[in-house]
C-alpha cells in the first residue's frame, strides 16, 4: 500500500450525482477526490445530445457540455479529479481503501458511491457477436453509419424514444420494438415519436433473435400475445431497454434492494456501512433523471459533512 494521506472524502463516479457531491463537499472544505472513470467519465449524459429538461437551460444544453460544466464547477472549488477506474473498494472500518487500475491505493474517512448504471443487454447469443457490426448502444455515435437504411430501436422508455427520434436524422425508417402495447416514455417524447413519419412501432413484441453472418441483416420478434414470430429486415439495432445499477464493486459489502440498487436509509444517502454513502442512479430505480441524480449527490455531500463532523467530535472527546 502506498503511504497516501487519509482524505476526508472520495467520490466514485462523475455523473450528475458525483459532480454535484464534489461541488458541495469542495465548498465544505472537504477537499474531495473524484475518481471519475477512465472511459465512463461524465456518465450517461456523455452519450446524449440535447438535454431539454435540466432546469436553468431554457434552450436545452448538450449532454457532454452539461457534464463539462459540472466538472469545471467542481474544479473551481478545488475538487481533485482523477480519470481512472476503481478496481477494488474496502469499505469496512473507519478508513476506507480504494484501489485503482494503475495500482495506486487511496484512503478516506468517507466514500460516496455514485457509479450510476450500465446499459442492459438483450441477452441474446448473437448480440455480442454482432456488437459493432450493426448492434449498437450509442445512437449519437453510430447513427451516422445507417444513412438511408432501415433500423430498429428496442425499448419503450425515454432513452429509446430519444434514440429513435435522433436516428430519424439518418435512417430511412426507424422501427421501434416494444414489449408492451404502450410506451413508458414521458408524454412529450412519446407523442413526438408516435407522430413522426419515419418511425413505426411493433407492439407487444420481444426480440428473440438477431440475424446476420458478419453484420446484422434482420431481427426476429415474437408477439407476446399471439406467439407469432416475424423476421424484420433491418441493418442496425439500437438497444435501449434500460439500465442496471453498477454495483459490482460493492455488492458483497453493502446491502442492496430487491431492484439491485444500493439500499439507503430513508431519504438519506446512508448505506448499510458507516461512512459509506451512495447517490444517483445507483440508488434509484424509479426516477433516474439528471436532476434527481444531482439532488441525490447534494444530499450525500451533506450527509458526509455531518458524518465527518460527528466523527471528529467523537475523536475530540475521547
Amino acid at each position: 500500500m502506498t503511504p497516501e494521506e487519509i482524505r476526508e472524502v472520495i467520490i466514485v463516479g462523475s455523473g450528475p450525482a458525483g459532480y454535484t457531491a464534489a461541488v458541495y463537499t469542495a465548498r465544505a472544505n472537504l477537499n474531495p477526490l473524484v475518481i471519475a472513470g477512465s472511459v465512463t467519465a461524465g456518465g450517461e449524459l456523455m452519450n446524449t445530445t440535447d438535454v431539454e429538461n435540466f432546469p436553468g437551460f431554457p434552450e436545452g444544453i448538450m449532454g457532454p457540455d452539461l457534464m463539462d460544466n459540472m466538472q469545471k464547477q467542481a474544479e473551481r472549488f478545488g475538487a481533485e479529479i482523477l480519470f481512472d477506474d476503481v478496481t477494488e473498494m474496502n469499505l469496512e472500518g473507519e478508513i476506507k481503501t480504494l484501489s485503482l487500475a494503475d495500482g495506486t491505493i487511496y484512503r478516506a474517512r468517507a466514500v460516496i458511491v455514485s457509479t450510476g448504471s450500465a446499459y442492459r443487454e438483450l441477452g441474446l447469443q448473437d448480440e455480442k457477436r454482432l456488437s459493432g457490426h450493426g448492434v449498437s448502444w450509442c445512437a449519437t455515435c453510430d447513427g451516422f453509419f445507417f444513412r438511408e437504411q432501415t433500423i430498429a430501436v428496442i425499448g419503450g422508455g425515454d432513452s429509446a424514444m430519444e434514440e429513435a427520434l435522433f436516428l430519424t436524422k439518418f435512417a430511412a425508417k426507424v422501427i421501434v420494438v416494444h414489449r408492451r402495447n404502450e410506451l413508458r416514455a414521458s408524454k412529450i417524447m412519446a407523442d413526438r415519436a408516435l407522430a413522426h413519419e419515419k418511425i413505426e412501432f411493433i407492439w407487444d413484441s420481444e426480440v428473440i433473435g438477431i440475424n446476420g453472418a458478419d453484420k446484422v441483416d434482420g431481427l426476429v420478434v415474437k408477439n407476446r400475445t399471439s406467439g407469432e414470430e416475424t423476421t424484420v429486415n433491418v441493418t442496425g439495432i439500437f438497444v435501449a431497454i434500460g439500465n442496471d445499477p453498477r454495483v459490482d464493486l460493492v455488492k458483497d459489502q453493502l446491502e442492496l434492494t430487491a431492484e439491485g440498487t444500493i439500499a439507503v436509509d430513508g431519504r438519506t444517502s446512508k448505506t448499510s456501512l458507516p461512512g459509506v454513502f451512495a447517490a444517483g442512479d445507483v440508488i434509484d430505480s424509479t426516477y433516474r433523471q439528471a436532476i434527481t441524480a444531482a439532488a441525490s449527490g447534494c444530499a450525500a455531500a451533506q450527509d458526509v459533512e455531518h458524518y465527518l463532523a460527528n466523527v471528529s467530535e467523537t475523536l475530540a472527546t475521547v
Binding site: S38, V39, A101, H133, C138, T140, C141, D214
Partner: protein, 107 residues
C-alpha cells in the same frame, strides 16, 4: 480522439497497410462522446508501446470510404493492422488495461 497522427484516404496505404510495425487505428468522429474518452488512453498506449506499434487515427466523417471498406458501424472502433491485414478489433471506449489485454499479441 487521440493526439495520434491523422491518417486519410490518401495516406492509409502508406501509413497503415505498408507499415513495418503493427498499426493501431482509432476510427473516430467529432460527434462521438466515447471517442473523446478513449483518445487519451490510446495516447498512453502509443507512448508506452512506441517500439512495437504505431497508433494513428482516422476521422470517419472525412474518410467515409475507409470506414465503409472495413465495415465500421460503431465508433470508437480500434483496429490493429499487421502486414496490411486487419488482425484485431476492439469496439467501444474501454479502459487501458482491457485494450492492452485485447491487443496483447501486438504490444
Amino acid at each position: 480522439m487521440s493526439n495520434a497522427k491523422a491518417v486519410t484516404e490518401a495516406t492509409f496505404q502508406a501509413d497503415v497497410l505498408d507499415a513495418d510495425k503493427p498499426v493501431i487505428v482509432d476510427f473516430w468522429a467529432e460527434w462521438c462522446g466515447p471517442c473523446r474518452q478513449l483518445g487519451p488512453i490510446l495516447d498512453q498506449i502509443a507512448e508506452e508501446h512506441a517500439a512495437k506499434v504505431d497508433v494513428v487515427k482516422v476521422n470517419v466523417d472525412e474518410n467515409q470510404a475507409i470506414a465503409a471498406k472495413y465495415g465500421i458501424t460503431s465508433i470508437p472502433a480500434v483496429y490493429v493492422f499487421k502486414g496490411g491485414e486487419h488482425v484485431a478489433t476492439s469496439i467501444g471506449a474501454k479502459p487501458k488495461a482491457v485494450i492492452e489485454k485485447d491487443f496483447a499479441e501486438y504490444l
